[in-house]
Symmetry: C2
Subunit: 404 residues, 2 copies
Amino acid sequence: MSPVASPESVRRHNLSLLLRHLHHSGALSRSEIGGALGMTRSTIGELVADLGGRGLVLAGDPARLGSPGRPSLVVRPNPEGAAAITADIAVNSLAVAVVGLGGQILHLARVAHRPRRLAFEQTVEDILKLIKSAQASIPAGCWIAGLGIGVPGVVRRADGLVHFAPNLGWRDVPLGRLVADRIGSGLPVLIANEADLGTVAEHTWGAGVGVDHLIYVASDVGVGGGLVIDGHPLVGATGCAGEVGHVQVNPMGVHCRCGAIGCWETEIGGPALLRRAGSAEKGYQPEAVARVLRDAAWGDPVALPAVEEVGRWLGAGLGGLVNAFNPQRVVLGGYLGDMWPLVERIVQAELRVRVMAPALEVVEIKPAQLGAEATLLGAAELALTRVLDEPTLVPVRAAEGGPA
Amino acid sequence: MSPVASPESVRRHNLSLLLRHLHHSGALSRSEIGGALGMTRSTIGELVADLGGRGLVLAGDPARLGSPGRPSLVVRPNPEGAAAITADIAVNSLAVAVVGLGGQILHLARVAHRPRRLAFEQTVEDILKLIKSAQASIPAGCWIAGLGIGVPGVVRRADGLVHFAPNLGWRDVPLGRLVADRIGSGLPVLIANEADLGTVAEHTWGAGVGVDHLIYVASDVGVGGGLVIDGHPLVGATGCAGEVGHVQVNPMGVHCRCGAIGCWETEIGGPALLRRAGSAEKGYQPEAVARVLRDAAWGDPVALPAVEEVGRWLGAGLGGLVNAFNPQRVVLGGYLGDMWPLVERIVQAELRVRVMAPALEVVEIKPAQLGAEATLLGAAELALTRVLDEPTLVPVRAAEGGPA
């Protein structure tokens, strides 16, 4: 429970409630807002005026906003009112975006990058260059909440230390501090694991909308994951919850890059599929994985059993996680989402054996929906939280009038 | 976020905040309350008067309350003001208690019970008899919030259906509905898994006080568990989260009572220890487990390796859970707590290999503190939640004056 509420804190709470609701739901009529949030017409009017004065929402006649079918005046988040700069440091590419309120991508640049062993300092330079050109694209008057960056590794949230990002060849690099020093404007810099951001993005805009208990598991090279518990992303004590790829599933298994043996990652990661399919490629190649999936779909006598074997391990590991968390939905990202139609029967059969009935009867499995943009959108949510929690951080615009 | 707050809802929120704080912290001076909750002296005075008028707290001079060292007037929860009736259906015994505010046990009866295959209807009759004599002991004027019952099985919280309680021989028995029908007074009847209740109890009164991210793992026959996430017990979508005993850790393992193979329970449960120690006892005998632990402490050449082997599996499984949840603390209950001094080194070595550094650097492992009463205390917390959330449910006492 939060501490004692004063009338002023109630008002700020309500501003936050309304802005977050619009950010997640898009354009709504005043009566839809009233129905969803239990606010009176006059309260909504005051709050919309306040948020509008800060440039955070646009209110007006539906025709002007381009949704002519709506029966009453609508309010919608203003993507050019507040935004986040976000970056995705992936294994094969770097991307930077500007994402406005409502999850609208205002600017996006993705460049190919050396597939292996990105030198840390060089990567920071490259990201800073992309950020600079993103900053040039920010609309006038747009309030920037912060910079969110996703990396494929284990991150300590407090200071953005990347403890371990094996596919970048990074160990204990101070990404958060270095970027903050180089940007130097006092802008908050938030670093998070890419799968945690994928979880947030799929929960906010993708295959997990409206779900309070969610497990997200994604793989390309490694296996990452994230959890939503009672509607909130699980961060954990130090910001690295969701490392489900490093649950031991096979004590007779192979060495994992983390140093342990038989982690789930070694059985269901992209390289595990290639290994089982006898692929000549060493390590991870997205094209090679796609080829195995395509061959398996045609019933290829090597590819199909390889996919099915990965499916059994996927089901075995998911069974344990479903027993531990009792989620409503499991969202599969990365190549696991592409593989889902081929392994659905096998995974469901594993779950039927392993999962306690009251947990089994509610859980649904779905492929992820947001594809390559998931990390950027999740990073935006992370950085925008500041303004969603406290809309009064954004100053009232002089032109719009109202008390400054 | 909760919906819009009115002044009246702010007041009820504050009553709840204060009562819960006293329930968890015990006797406090007004200045300690002010410091902890950020309330003014006059707000505290009004709230204490309200709660006192309902008989939920006792306020007065410290000498009268028996804590003469305190410098100022103290307020404390009144265990005879509101209480829960709680029951623990264990494998070898049945217990019923009356637990008052502040976690004080006002009445407790535990009777030995047939160790195996309790017939469902007979158990309900036996529990009802114990409840009847507990009801006779309830102090006059004490408001009973509800009846909380813990069972060693998988429970659907919504209706108290016990889906699977292998050590009681129960499958799909409507425990909640049957008890509610037989009690018949409209008293809420809440059924939960015993390990979930142990989690709540250890978090509220035992080895997990003040910890926001906690994993509880306990074993006697089976292996149960529970999670605290951001300060709140994880319930899951249908109330059966925390079934960590049924995470697969060994695909080459033995059949589990749940139907799957190689569940964690089959490697670290009490019967697994006895099996490894070559014990003649079939199944689970608490005395036999205690004997193996005692022998191992003396370095017995059969018992010690058996304990160490269980310790390795304990560490392997915990490593995965710590990676998934990033907790601050792991609390070991049942025989695992007793075994802890013997396996601490082995478990810590496993965690060092398996757990990501930012998670490893914060996690502590401790044995549970509440012993046999954990289930009863956790069940009380479950039932008392109603009055802790909404103290105005308890009517103002006529004798004390104030608006009725």
